[in-house]
């Protein structure tokens, strides 16, 4: 116990002397050095304490901001999903609008009304032969009715109905080898017969041998066609076949204007007396019309009726009448 008292007295004396020296000699170099050292050692406690306290104080607002951001994120994701759906719907409606606008520019022949139908099926084994459409006898589709499509805003011939079922119909494409359409060339106005090859090309035969032909000529259906109305685009000349000295005519290769692979809707002409339902197809869904695929649009006739197109290319020598309300339109 005495030793502890003695030691404590020594410690007391030492520390007291040191403290009094610090108190009484504050401006001397050793004291200033000691003070600077103490500040260097102990000031970080307050410095980092302040930073830590500030971080702790920032935690509740940070958590609140995080929660708000999470809620905003959920809300924005829902809005984004809605926006994406609306965008898809908008694309579909735009396509629908374009098709309907083009349909408005067409004047169906007397006694016929246009009927739009979805392309339901395309057989890979008969890619250039036929397609199945979603309209049949119930909707007023009749045998041999002409079928049209829209290719980049232009009315083009697709084929004719060869089989009619209750709610669907089989369309024989113009590229089928069993198809043949009376047509004429836009530059020379000579007529020939466009025949399918069951491939991506058509062949136009029976062109007079003395006529000068050139590639790029547009091929339109002739008014004399038994199936299609006149002035409907069929394709353009891709190549001129070499003349056969044993034949009295020449032929050209024609690239069809209707790309059957991109058609999603087609227009069929039906007699006006058929059922009035499904004149306009059901609204297109975004999945049914992926971006880039345009629905077809146009009008057509059967073997006899004529179609007047509001706007379009005018084949040489046979100007296409502009949109004129005809008797059919007024009579309806």
């Amino acid at each position: 116990m005495h030793r502890e008292i003695r030691v404590s007295n020594y410690v007391l004396a030492t520390l007291s002397a040191l403290a009094l020296a610090l108190l009484s000699l504050p401006l001397t170099a050793p004291v200033r050095t000691l003070k600077a050292g103490v500040v260097y050692l102990l000031n970080p406690v307050a410095y980092y304490g302040a930073k830590g306290a500030q971080r702790l104080a920032d935690v509740p607002p940070g958590v609140a901001r995080l929660l708000r951001a999470d809620l905003d994120n959920i809300q924005l994701q829902a809005q984004l999903r809605d926006a994406l759906w609306q965008k898809s719907e908008l694309e579909a409606l735009r396509t629908e609008n374009r098709r309907l606008s083009q349909a408005l520019g067409l004047t169906p022949p007397r006694g016929y009304v246009p009927l739009w139908a979805d392309v339901m099926e395309r057989d890979p084994l008969h890619w250039y032969n036929s397609i199945m459409i979603g309209a049949g006898a119930q909707q007023g589709v009749s045998l041999n009715a002409p079928v049209f499509g829209d290719q980049d805003g232009t009315l083009v011939a697709v084929g004719r109905v060869t089989e009619v079922r209750r709610d669907s119909a089989l369309v024989l494409l113009v590229t089928d080898e069993a198809s043949s359409v009376a047509a004429y060339l836009s530059t020379s106005a000579v007529e020939g017969l466009v025949q399918g090859q069951s491939g991506p090309r058509l062949r136009m035969n029976y062109l007079p041998s003395e006529v000068a032909l050139s590639t790029g000529d547009l091929v339109y259906t002739s008014p004399t066609s038994a199936t299609f109305p006149g002035e409907i685009l069929l394709g353009h000349v891709m190549a001129i076949n070499p003349r056969d000295p044993f034949l009295t005519f020449q032929s050209v290769e024609v690239r069809p204007a209707a790309d059957a692979a991109t058609l999603s809707q087609v227009m069929v002409l039906r007699p006006a007396g058929a059922a009035d339902q499904a004149v306009v197809p059901p609204p297109m869904t975004p999945k049914a019309f992926p971006k880039g695929r345009q629905a077809g649009a146009a009008a057509a006739t059967s073997s006899a009726p004529q179609v007047k197109k509001s706007s379009g290319t005018a084949p040489s020598g046979k100007a296409i009448p502009k949109a004129v309300p005809d008797e059919t339109e007024e009579g309806r």
Partner: protein, 156 residues
């Protein structure tokens, strides 16, 4: 008590004292946590440890205050010495005794610091009546905290 734990306690107590006096002080009142810890450690470890801790913690307080460099070190060192000296007179480990010691040591600390100001700064460094009257009670409230700290240091 390991040196590592002692160092951790030194830094943690200094930090807590600074944080409480700057962030949780209301009406100018904040507890003298370091003083209470010095009393508790002197009661358990004797005057030498109390004086050493008191001197170093006092230096820490001195660098936070502009008046006297060395004043807090001297005053808190005497608090440690006084508590250690009281071990021979009374049972300072008793809780009630610690309340009493803390209560009066707080007044002694304030008065001693003021008198040091008279000697070395030519003015009495008065802490103010609110602190002088209520800080002893405030300090008594945190005596259990010092017991927890000593238990963590495994000091009996």
């Amino acid at each position: 008590m390991s040196h590592l734990r002692g160092a951790v306690l030194f830094v943690a107590a200094a930090l807590l004292q600074w944080w409480w006096s700057t962030r949780m002080s209301f009406w100018g009142l904040s507890p003298q946590i370091l003083l209470v810890l010095i009393v508790a450690m002197s009661a358990r470890l004797g005057p030498n440890s109390g004086m050493c801790y008191g001197f170093l913690w006092g230096l820490f307080l001195d660098i936070l205050r502009p008046e006297l460099f060395g004043g807090n070190a001297f005053a808190l060192m005497l608090v440690g010495y006084g508590t250690g000296a009281l071990r021979r007179q009374m049972d300072v480990l008793d809780v009630v005794s610690q309340y009493v010691i803390v209560f009066f040591m707080t007044w002694g600390y304030f008065l001693l610091y003021g008198l040091l100001g008279v000697v070395f700064a030519k003015q009495f460094l008065w802490v103010g009546w609110p602190a002088f009257l209520f800080d002893p009670f405030y300090n008594c409230f945190i005596v259990p905290l010092s017991a927890l700290a000593c238990a963590w240091l495994r000091v009996r």
